[in-house]
């Protein structure tokens, strides 16, 4: 199935990727080809096949409600692109 440029732009927006025009053109073509290849899956009837989300079946893997030592704040904030008053700083929040 072929993807339109509009779809590529919509997906890029969902993924928070500012693509260049060139990338949009390339991705429209490449993703369409990949999706075409993937179309082969439709040859298989799977209505009665349950999906597998975990390759090795486990259940109820739980943790005790006991606290551990948290990380040193200075160490954590040293990795932040921008920090202030013990917090991570982000630019003006504009709605998507």
């Amino acid at each position: 199935m072929a993807l339109t440029r509009n779809q590529v732009e919509h997906v890029a927006k969902l993924a928070r990727l500012s693509l260049t025009d060139q990338e949009k053109v390339a991705f429209t073509e490449q993703l369409s080809r990949i999706l075409e290849h993937v179309e082969s899956l439709n040859r298989l009837e799977t209505a009665d096949v349950p999906p597998t989300y975990h390759a090795v079946a486990l259940q109820n893997v739980l943790r005790e409600d006991k606290p551990h030592t948290s990380l040193d704040r200075a160490k954590v904030l040293s990795q932040a692109p921008e920090a202030e008053e013990g917090c991570f700083k982000v630019p003006k929040i504009t709605e998507g």
Binding site: H54, N60, E64, V76, C87, K89, K92, E95
Partner: protein, 490 residues
């Protein structure tokens, strides 16, 4: 004829669970710490960190569901809900899409007239809270930048989703209060609105009375108190009706409630609705709950408000409404139970009256929390015993009560110190009665002409003269005697 409109409300209530640690990691779940001091690779979403479910959070979620009369899912899983926001470290939330832990429950609300109604609980799922954004201005949209504190990121949350069964702001208020009370009884959350441990989103629509289909709804976000929820519902319902009566149509949209201004504003329209791209969480295996496990959790439930309420009605003859107020707070019910035990079952109604009227009034005036009841069960029981023994009158009791609150002393001490004992000395009281009768010829004439009410007036004067300390029955007897003497009718 003008259309009669019906308001339809559904709520999504988020409750933070009172676990020791966060839901996916072992950082402390604690309100009010220095920013970014309760963080680790997991709740900061550092590259490579993985979530592991807190067993206590799971138990609390199920416990809340059982308390809200829900069915419990035997086989559940977690899903990723994808959206970018700076307070969300992973930029997805681990939540539950199609297999929430609890479903199909209800909460019974009691209206003022004693009638009850069930509000359906559609589902309860477990997820993580986000961090906190701090803005320079009072509003995200207006601030130039924001600061992020991730202490709250990863705190366990349950989201309780109701059926659209609520029909008014008042019902919403009753529901929220009842819900809060049940959650608190179970001990799964401290449900403090002011600390944000309970928050809600409100879905409102209207329809002509008698119409089966629901109207188009709008969703209100940023509702930070029960009263804000009620105001928001009234505002939205009115806004919808106005639009519809002008022949307009409602847009399905998400709106933000600005409580200070009492208005809602558009946050996003349906077209801009987020595409959350849910998919099963690969980092967390499914959760399987056996009947045995569920029953084990059920056995840890305390007596819940509905049960206590019916017991209060049956054992003590309280009205449904009075009982519902007493059980509305766990601390109230406990206080009531202790006071009745001390004062004796015969005084149960009196305890309820004092609690609902006087104590509640004082607490409202002083803005006290339920855990700050200003008089102890011992104090109130002591006072009721003095009334029962005839030591003080009901009227004096009000004075004693005020003094108890002021001084914290017990009733007996106050009565002694203030000389508030009931005057039962016949000779002394007769003397006072004769003086009053002699000084009031007018009312005496009234009495002589057969107006029995005049005797009551003299009793009132007696109470006034003794500052309420006269035994009312004795006062009546002596007033009558004095009047007869005075008019020679002996």
């Amino acid at each position: 004829m003008a259309t009669q409109w019906e308001t339809v409300v559904g709520l999504e209530v988020h409750v933070e669970l009172a676990t020791e640690t966060k839901v996916w990691c072992s950082c402390k779940n604690q309100f009010g710490a220095e920013p970014n001091t309760h963080v680790c690779p997991v709740c900061l979403a550092l590259p490579g960190a993985l979530p592991v479910l807190n067993a206590q959070a799971l138990e609390f979620a199920v416990k809340a569901g059982l308390a809200l009369n829900c069915e419990i899912q035997h086989h559940s899983k977690f899903d990723r809900k994808n959206y970018f926001y700076p307070d969300s470290p992973m930029n997805y939330q681990i939540s539950q899409l199609d297999l929430p832990f609890c479903y199909d429950g209800y909460v019974e609300i009691t209206r003022k007239d004693g009638s009850t109604k069930r509000i359906g609980i559609k589902r309860i799922h477990l997820e993580n809270d986000a961090g906190k954004l701090l803005h320079a201005g009072d509003d995200v949209a207006e601030a130039d930048s924001s600061l992020v504190d991730f202490n709250r990121a990863g705190v366990p949350l349950i989201e309780i989703v109701t059926e659209p069964d609520i029909r008014s702001a008042e019902e919403a208020g009753l529901f929220l209060n009842k819900l809060r009370s049940i959650i608190k009884y179970c001990g799964v959350s401290d449900v403090k609105m002011e600390e944000g441990s309970m928050r809600c989103d409100v879905n409102v629509s209207v329809r002509p009375v008698g119409q089966a289909e629901y109207g188009i709804r709008s969703e209100l976000k940023n509702v930070n108190s029960f009263s804000a929820a009620m105001r928001g519902i009234e505002y939205e319902a009115k806004r919808h009706i106005e639009i519809l009566e002008k022949g307009g149509t409602i847009d399905q949209e998400t709106r933000s409630w600005r409580d200070a201004k009492g208005v809602s504003v558009v946050l996003r329209s349906k077209e801009d609705a987020e595409d959350y791209r849910y998919f099963p969480e690969p980092d967390l295996p499914p959760v399987v709950l056996s009947d045995e496990t569920i029953e084990e959790i059920r056995s840890t439930l305390p007596e819940l408000p509905d049960t206590i309420m019916h017991r209060l009605m049956n054992e003590f003859g309280l009205s449904a409404y009075d009982a519902s107020i007493i059980v509305s707070e766990k601390e109230f019910a406990e206080w009531f139970g202790q006071a009745v035990e001390l004062a004796g079952q015969a005084n149960a109604k009196a305890v309820a009256n004092w609690q609902i009227n006087e104590i509640n009034r004082v607490m409202n005036e002083k803005g006290l929390r339920p855990d700050q009841i200003p008089v102890s069960p011992e104090q109130i029981a002591g006072m009721l015993k003095l009334i029962e023994a005839g030591t003080i009158t009901g009227k004096i009791a009000k004075t004693v009560f005020e003094k108890m609150i002021e001084s914290g002393k017990d009733a007996e001490t106050i009565v002694k110190e203030e000389g508030l004992t009931q005057v039962a000395d016949e000779g002394e009281l007769l003397k006072i009665a004769l003086e009053i009768v002699a000084a009031n010829p007018g009312p005496v004439e009234d009495w002589k002409s057969g107006k029995q009410a005049a005797a009551q007036w003299f009793v009132g004067q007696m109470m006034k003269a003794t500052r309420g300390r006269a035994n009312p029955q004795l006062a009546m007897k002596l007033v009558t005697e004095a009047l007869r003497k005075h008019t020679g009718q002996a």
